[in-house]
Amino acid sequence: MTTAETIMLLVRWWIIIGALVATAFLFVGIDRIDEDARGAYIFRPLLVPAILLIWPLVLWRWLILERGAENWARRYAPPRASHLIVALAMAAAIAIALWLGLTSRQSWPADIAPEQLTSPEGASE
């Protein structure tokens, strides 16, 4: 199995597990941990894509809320202080990417005659 095939297999399993978590969370868990969700059903399908993508985080938060182990003070700790570091890192990455792109530009080799490729051994037409 190639690396690409392995990655796609992992992606499929990630989504299958995410679907199981979504089923359990949206039919059982959400009513237990959020009073604003009780009786509100129409919005729940909107949550499915996120659960498929970040189901480990959903399980982690669900467990904390089920245990009543929420630290309320942490809800009010804004992460804005790290904006300067993030902005610097992003600016540097953009500058490097643009520099690499601009120094590697090339013209289309229009003067090269087209070449008829042969099909690989055993490939069907």
Binding site: T2, W72, P79, G101, T103, S107
Partner: protein, 353 residues
């Protein structure tokens, strides 16, 4: 603000915002496909699949660039705040445009072979040793996955469920994702030296985002809220009572790193957390009307005397014990649990303006 969750909390402003946005997307695609093929180096014959892939890709890049500019512009100049109001719809629309771009690419360049098209997209080019010919698709895949996560977690439920700091940390991924989009273009479409127009758009867009974010971050650092100074019995001095204008607040940093906002309303002082329960917006930059402060970012409201949103809404923020030492306003740096009522303190006569 929510009582029971609903899919989308529509209002006339959001309809207008989304209408303008959709019209902008349609106009961009129409110009790209029908009016400007020559300008965009499409004079060589290409099929509609490739043309559409380029149109949606360019549109997604421009949309993402605008989204990334709104945040720092709103921090630099408050007149841009209305653009921040419904930015999440802008983001969700961008994801759909980006997915359309990806589908056009995958269903053309990686289809028509016995190999699965997604496997083909990941395995066709694995030469990571040079800029020219680098598998730039990987940058696009990374950015697309991030954008999908951000769009999927944009409903208010996720903010409450994950907590604002966790949600914000996830949404910080937009920064590496944007850098990846620039790299995707720089090592992909931009390598064609005959394609000048899109090169100019990519360079101007990328540099504008980088400069605006640096500008906003540096100006926030230099104009940072003052630190509270130590007062009696571990309390913290915020400012002189006379410095607080009626209807507004003074913000101070506490030793814990949290910010307290002290509001003056009808000659009375109240102290609440500066971080909105919604997205940690700066409540101290909002104005108080009838004891309710409105967050300048998304309009959430709280009673400054108890940190509670007006009924029937249920959002709450921490409050702080407040007192006067002469005309100095002092607060207990240990926050009260969210929604705890605190008796306001009258502004002393000598500090009344």
């Amino acid at each position: 603000m929510s009582v029971k969750y609903i899919p989308v909390q529509w209002n006339p402003n959001k309809w207008m915002y989304d209408g303008v946005m959709l019209a902008g997307v349609a106009l961009f695609l129409w110009i790209f496909v029908h009016l400007a093929p020559g300008m965009l180096s499409h004079e060589r014959p290409i099929n509609p699949q490739i043309h559409n892939a380029r149109a949606f890709g360019a549109c997604a890049f421009v949309m993402l660039t605008i989204i990334l500019c709104i945040g720092p512009l709103a921090r630099i100049d408050r007149r841009f705040l209305p653009l921040l109001y419904n930015r999440r719809h802008f983001g969700v629309m961008t994801v759909f445009v980006a997915i359309t771009h990806a589908m056009y690419v995958i269903n053309w360049y990686f289809a028509f072979s016995p190999t699965d098209k997604y496997v083909a997209a990941l395995s066709t080019n694995t030469d990571y040793s040079q800029a020219l010919g680098f598998p730039f698709e990987l940058f696009g895949i990374f950015a697309l996955v991030v954008l999908m996560i951000l769009a999927a977690t944009s409903h208010d439920f996720w903010m409450k469920f994950l907590t604002p700091p966790v949600w914000k940390s996830i949404h910080y991924l937009i920064y590496p994702a944007y850098a990846a989009v620039v790299a995707h273009i720089a090592l992909g479409a931009m390598l064609d030296a005959q394609n000048l127009a899109f090169t100019v758009i990519a360079v101007i867009g990328g540099l504008t985002v980088a400069i605006l974010h640096l500008w906003a971050a540096i100006s926030e650092t230099t104009r940072s809220d003052p630190k509270g100074t130590a007062a009696n019995e571990g309390w913290i001095r915020v400012c002189d009572a006379g410095e607080i204008k009626e209807g507004f607040a003074k913000i101070a940093k506490l030793p814990s790193g949290d910010r307290v906002a002290v509001f003056r309303q009808d000659g009375q002082l109240s102290a609440i957390s500066n971080a909105c329960a919604h997205q940690n917006g700066p409540l101290g930059e909002g104005r108080v009307i009838d004891c309710l402060v409105t967050c300048p970012w998304h309009g959430f409201q709280y009673d400054v005397r108890n940190g509670q949103s007006p009924a029937p809404f249920t959002e709450k923020i921490p409050t702080y014990q407040i007192a006067l030492d002469g005309t100095d306003v002092i607060v207990n740096p240990v926050a009260n649990p969210p929604g705890t009522p605190v008796d306001p303190v009258p502004v002393p006569q000598e500090a009344q303006a």
